[in-house]
Amino acid sequence: MERVAVIGVGMTQFARERPAETAADLVFEACTRALEDARLSIEDVDVVITGSNDFFDGRTISSMAVMDACGSYDKNVSTVEGDGTFGAAHALMRVLAGWGTVLYCAHHKGSESVMPLITNAMFDPIFERFLGIEAVTSAALQARAYMDRWGLDEETLALVSVKNHGNAFRNPVAQLPLETTVEDVMGSPYIADPLKRLDCAPVTDGAAAVILADREHARSAGSRAVRVRGVGYSCDAFHLGDRDLADPSALRDAAARAYRGAAIDDPARQIDLAEVSEVFGYMELMWCEGLGLCGPGEAGEMTASGRTARDGDIPVNVSGGCLSANPVLVSGLNRVIECVLQVRGEAGEHQVEGVRTAVAQGFNGPCGQSQCVWVLGGEE
């Protein structure tokens, strides 16, 4: 994937509630920041892709709510319903197909809806939905399966929460920096065993945007253009009982597809930093394994040893991750943006020295069913 770069990024402040702004207001803010970052005006953008979800927005044709705000007037425009990593992947396709400059934006106002009722609607209406399953309880089934597979304890899972909430102190847009300990996590109430309140991501309002460009249009961004080296995505089976929940096989496949494009054959050595969508603490461990940053079952130990900490050899979620701000759909896009900022050396207080190649991950569906991976950064 020689030809595409991220030339502008923008995020809003993420918060539990932003009642003064509508979704459109948040999108306008994020797009404006991305354009400023790219030193472009909206007239320079050829195509706009938006990301929204009719359930979270409580609105059929939810993309309509942001059509004014995203600057799509008199442009080709389309909408991907799903995580920002997927929407941005479609923006990438538009650039690869010959459009010079493509803007992608996503928004989420978690404060405006009731999350369990919405995530319950991910499940099959005939066989599963009436049982009352939703995102947290289904994730708990996966967390249990993963712990059982590798003999992990809840304290190991808690390390992710402690690390990421701590990292969030250095990220000015994060929602939930917390000084917390494994004991605090263990002492927080169970939502669905083995998941406790501090293992779970918060409800968040916010938006983000990226601008992708071909080589010619990336030139104006100079050294601030960050190459897209590989993108891959892949989907596992739907019914939970059809899957091996402890095995992140779809992520392994998505990563293999992204790494093939990026000429990465030894991710643990070639990748300097990762931003993963750990909506629940255990997910960071599973996603690290799926991305090949360590072997199967080794992520707990890798985390306990501090290797994924901000000063470790492969920092994971130095931004604070989804545990510190989880605007659904935007979450995966935030991972991409954080990687871009790190590769640029412009991540501010949470900058890690010497990041050349970074990997971002996002997912759709229950228990990370459909996975997307982005590899960003310079030459090897």
Binding site: N120, R144, P194, G241
Partner: protein, 158 residues
């Protein structure tokens, strides 16, 4: 309006609710399956003629081979708990049983795949992956997945 009019403003928030009724068809396969639960307290799976997998939940076509799966297979009402959780704070609208109750992925004897159902009637701390469980059928059955009330730790003698 002055520059800082927003500072002193209290934001109005309008409550709303989307009310769209749904009538989901179970289809022919789903209907056969649910009728069997309702009328005979019997679980049915379907076997793929190509890969041989016995699917429970039943499928009209194998999701992998894409072949029709016309063969029904009778399954036991007992099985193995693959993984589990306990819902401590379910949303009231999502609680078919009084909390705390459990969710489990259960592989029925005779099936190759698992399925999701409720766990109830277990001692706190007694759930283990790999344990034997059995179905408890609802007394009044209407042709829904809740015709199985829940699964409980098996009382079978091995």
């Amino acid at each position: 309006m002055t520059e800082d009019w927003r500072d002193s403003q209290e934001i109005l928030v309008m409550d709303g609710r989307i009310k769209v009724p749904y009538a989901w068809s179970a289809g022919e396969v789903g209907t056969t399956y649910l009728e069997s639960l309702r009328d005979a307290e019997r679980f049915l799976g379907t076997r793929c003629p190509v890969c041989g997998i016995v699917y429970h939940l039943p499928r009209m076509h194998c999701p992998d081979c894409f072949e029709a799966c016309p063969e029904w297979v009778e399954l036991e009402s007992t099985g193995t708990l693959v993984t589990w959780t306990i819902a401590r704070r379910p949303h009231p609208a999502l609680s078919p049983l009084a909390p705390p109750f459990g969710f489990g992925v259960i592989r029925l004897d005779g099936a190759d795949t698992g399925f999701l159902h409720l766990l109830y009637g277990f001692g706190v701390g007694s759930l283990r992956s790999g344990m034997r469980v059995e179905a408890v059928f609802a007394r009044e059955r209407t042709g829904s997945i809740l015709d199985v009330s829940h699964f409980r730790p098996s009382r079978e003698v091995v």
